[in-house]
């Protein structure tokens, strides 16, 4: 075991794509279409094309297709939703590329979206938008997109390293990007992918919360990797909560989203006393208020002890009649019945659930980062959504920026030589990965993960304040210390306890940045709500926070290059 670090398999490739969700596969598709001779390697921690969250998209894909709609309107909706914290160039790129990408998905990738009665692509209404522009395939849009993208891989034939987790970006002696170290989960062997271009597209880190919606892979690997490589991150405090996550006790189903349509259809939210508490938070719109407001209201009720003994509020749509509920929300009814409740016949316990990380690596509109040769796409990147993401803009971001990353990767790969990574960096990275396995004694990673989730939920959740955040920061640091001493028994082949230990390290890195950034933003904006600074402060805080390893936080003005916010009093 001690010799494990000497034993690193090397793979040389033109483009190494880390992650195989919507952004990752779209990147591969574009890179290999732009240059069929390109050698592209996918490193995927889970099953290729079947891990991550693009797969889990229910709602759909926002794109301007109808002549009556306009790009300006979509941009304005996106910026309004993001409370004007967005990088407007990124948001603008998103809305201008989205129609082209939908067209590509339909005519090249093979997606077959739902049709309107006239035979054209159907677009449905989604919260926060002035036009019905969400393209969808039933309420399983992600499966259609990812299934078809996965099939494109059989046409293109990139090198697929399945069950291979990327560890660290490594540089050569001159400090230039040389590739990425990785670990083959099946064999437990270390791997070094030397690459001309590295694309990071691993998805966000919302799983660091006790109640969370995303897939298990999403442990902030990409963001943590970039952080360790000294790349700046922005908007890390901006983590979106969905208001109605299922609460199912110890079951892993906890956090799974109950769709927004329920509230639209007239569901009531009540606390344990049976009171429709939304009257106290948004009397005009009640349950149909925006995600952030409804999340905050539910969280406040639960934290104030007005929730159920399980720490939940109740959603009740049964007054529509069981048959009607079953007809309109079959998937949701089944989901609740699985956990022993019944949406069609009575109230169901729900709680806000951590959903999406708006923050991430600082990129430009071509996915370039500060480090030449390193591209970041999808949820790993920050800035597109500002302080809040609109439903339907998530999968749009993944595919739009995945495609751009692929184009750019193909364009720049030829000009970048394959470099020899610094041996010491590789050895350090691999040794750190093997550390939990080589330790003789130490606690298991699972309790530490659990405590991190609890700490983040309580201290850096839907409602934050200075005292809570400071305490949370302290806990995160203590947990990081414990995490550096966890030990894992068993073989190195297919050992998921070991993988948990490595996930934990990344989650802690991202968590620390989220808390630190949340402490700095002394106002409330979008998903970030400070009980001690409950108002949005456009004078002091039309600015975004940039964090970088080993440097002090930097606060920069948001440039309103496309649209200026309507000045509010």
């Amino acid at each position: 075991m001690a010799r494990a670090t000497d034993d690193v398999t090397a793979v040389d490739t033109d483009v190494a794509v880390v992650g195989s969700g919507g952004a990752g596969l779209m990147c591969v598709l574009h890179a290999m279409t732009a240059d069929p001779g390109l050698d592209v390697t996918i490193l995927s921690k889970g099953a290729v094309g079947r891990s991550g969250c693009t797969r889990m998209v229910q709602g759909g894909f926002n794109a301007v297709l109808d002549p009556a709609d306009s790009l300006e309107l979509h941009l304005r909706d996106t910026l309004e939703g993001g409370k004007y914290l967005n990088d407007q160039e990124l948001a603008h790129t998103l809305v201008t590329d989205a129609p082209r990408v939908v067209n590509e998905l339909e005519t090249r990738v093979g997606c077959f979206f739902d049709r309107a009665p006239d035979g054209r692509i159907h677009q449905k209404a989604f919260a926060g938008q002035q036009f019905d522009r969400t393209v969808h395939r039933g309420d399983l849009t992600g499966i259609e997109i990812m299934g078809r993208l996965r099939d494109q891989m059989f046409r293109l034939g990139p090198r697929e390293l399945e069950d291979v987790r990327a560890l660290d970006l490594v540089r050569d002696a001159d400090g230039e990007l040389a590739g990425v170290t990785a670990l083959d989960i099946r064999t437990g062997r270390a791997l070094l992918a030397r690459a001309r271009v590295v694309v990071v597209a691993t998805g966000g880190a919302a799983t660091m919360y006790r109640i969370a919606a995303p897939a298990r892979e999403k442990t902030g690997d990409g963001v943590a990797m970039c952080w360790r490589a000294g790349i700046p991150l922005r908007d890390m405090e901006m983590l979106q909560f969905h208001p109605t996550g299922l609460l199912a006790g110890e079951s892993r189903l906890t956090g799974a989203v109950l769709e927004e349509g329920l509230r639209g259809a007239g569901a009531y939210l009540t606390n344990a006393a049976g009171e429709r508490y939304m009257a106290r938070y948004d009397a005009a719109r009640m349950e149909r208020s925006t995600r952030d407001v409804v999340s905050r209201a539910g969280y406040t009720e639960i934290m104030a002890g007005r929730g159920t003994p399980n720490g939940a509020v109740l959603i009740d749509i049964s007054r529509l009649g069981a048959a009607e509920v079953e007809r309109r929300f079959p998937g949701m009814v089944e989901r609740t019945r699985q956990v022993g409740q019944d949406l069609a016949r009575g109230p169901v316990e729900v709680s806000p659930t951590a959903h999406f990380h708006m923050g991430g690596v600082v990129i430009d509109r071509d996915c370039r980062t500060e480090l030449p040769g390193l591209l970041v796409a999808g949820e790993d990147a920050g800035g597109t959504h500002g302080a809040n993401r609109l439903g339907g803009n998530g999968v749009a971001e993944s595919t739009v920026y995945g495609a751009r990353a692929g184009d750019i990767a193909a364009a720049i790969a030829a000009d970048r030589p394959l470099r020899t990574p610094d041996a010491e960096q590789v050895a350090t990275s691999v040794a750190a990965a093997y550390a939990p396995l080589t330790r003789e004694t130490g606690e298991a990673p699972f309790p530490v993960t659990g405590e991190l989730k609890d700490a983040m939920w309580v201290g850096c959740g839907v409602v934050r304040d200075r005292a809570g955040l400071e305490e949370c920061l302290q806990v995160v640091d203590e947990l990081a210390d414990r995490a550096s001493r966890v030990a894992v028994a068993g073989p190195r082949e297919v050992n998921f306890a070991w993988q948990e230990a490595l996930d934990l390290r990344n989650q802690l890195t991202v968590a620390r940045n989220v808390v630190e950034s949340a402490l700095l933003r002394t106002e409330s904006r979008g998903a970030h709500y400070r009980a001690d600074f409950p108002d949005q402060d456009d004078v002091a805080w039309s600015r975004y926070i940039v964090l970088r390893d080993g440097a002090d936080p930097v606060v920069r003005d948001v440039e309103h290059t496309r649209v200026s916010p309507e000045v509010s009093a």
């Binding site: 889970g46 099953a47 079947r50 891990s51 991550g52 797969r55 889990m56 939908v102 067209n103 339909e106 005519t107 090249r108 990738v109 093979g110 077959f112 979206f113 739902d114 049709r115 309107a116 009665p117 006239d118 035979g119 692509i121 159907h122 395939r137 039933g138 399983l140 992600g142 499966i143 259609e144 299934g147 078809r148 996965r150 099939d151 494109q152 059989f154 046409r155 099946r186 897939a215 298990r216 892979e217 110890e250 079951s251 892993r252 189903l253 799974a256 989901r335 699985q338 298991a444 699972f446 894992v488 028994a489 068993g490 073989p491 082949e493 297919v494 050992n495 998921f496 306890a497 070991w498």
Partner: protein, 201 residues
């Protein structure tokens, strides 16, 4: 409590390195497939039977086991790849095709989309004999979706695979596939459709 929760509890409290896969835990990724008392199911969607003390869990059938419940899905995808599973757009497809929702084409395809590649049908297929060289229900379902698609120009090569040694003739209407599909698809009907298309061509 779902089977997945049971596995996670075993991982936390009894055997930290037990091998099993999962990702989304809401029946969309299709990676947690296993056999509960012989039946191929998604661990995340299947309650632990409460009527007895022990249950039997096996890995997906017909695929090489890596460790415990973790299998290598490569053979499944190898078969899948045989049917040209991607759209081969015909010349001139530059705009999304106009297809009304009540057209025969859309109805046929609609019912067969949403495959999550979980391999439950493959696992449950009784043609799963020792020398499995049947392309399998999932792949044929995908083939059917594309054969029926007016945007596609490669129906002939897919029908050739369906008519080949590992094609539709290997199906004996055991209905294992249609019975276990966690998304309610009916691969047996897709196979039947391909048999019919073959007779016409």
């Amino acid at each position: 409590m779902m089977v997945l929760d049971l596995l996670l509890a075993i991982q936390r409290e009894h055997d930290a390195c037990i091998g099993f896969r999962f990702s989304c835990r809401v029946a969309m990724c299709g990676t947690c497939t296993l056999r509960l008392d012989g039946r191929s199911v998604l661990a995340c969607q299947t309650p632990v039977p409460q009527d007895r003390d022990t249950v039997r869990l096996d890995p997906v059938a017909g695929l090489p086991v890596l460790r415990d419940l973790v299998v290598d899905t490569a053979p499944f995808w190898r078969e899948w790849a045989k049917v040209t599973p991607y759209l081969v757009p015909h010349d001139g497809l530059t705009e999304p095709a106009v297809v009304t929702p009540d057209s025969d084409e859309r109805r046929l395809i609609d019912a067969s989309l949403d495959c999550i590649g979980c391999a439950a049908c493959y696992s449950s297929c009784a043609v799963a004999a020792g020398s499995r060289d049947f392309v399998g229900p999932a792949a044929l379902n995908r083939a059917m979706v594309l054969v029926a698609d007016s945007r596609d120009a490669a129906a002939e090569q897919r029908l050739a695979v369906a008519d080949g040694a590992g094609g539709v003739d290997r199906c004996h209407y055991v209905y294992g596939c249609s019975a276990v599909c966690p998304k309610g698809l009916d691969p047996a009907a897709a196979i039947r459709y391909l048999r019919k298309s073959r007779l016409k061509s």
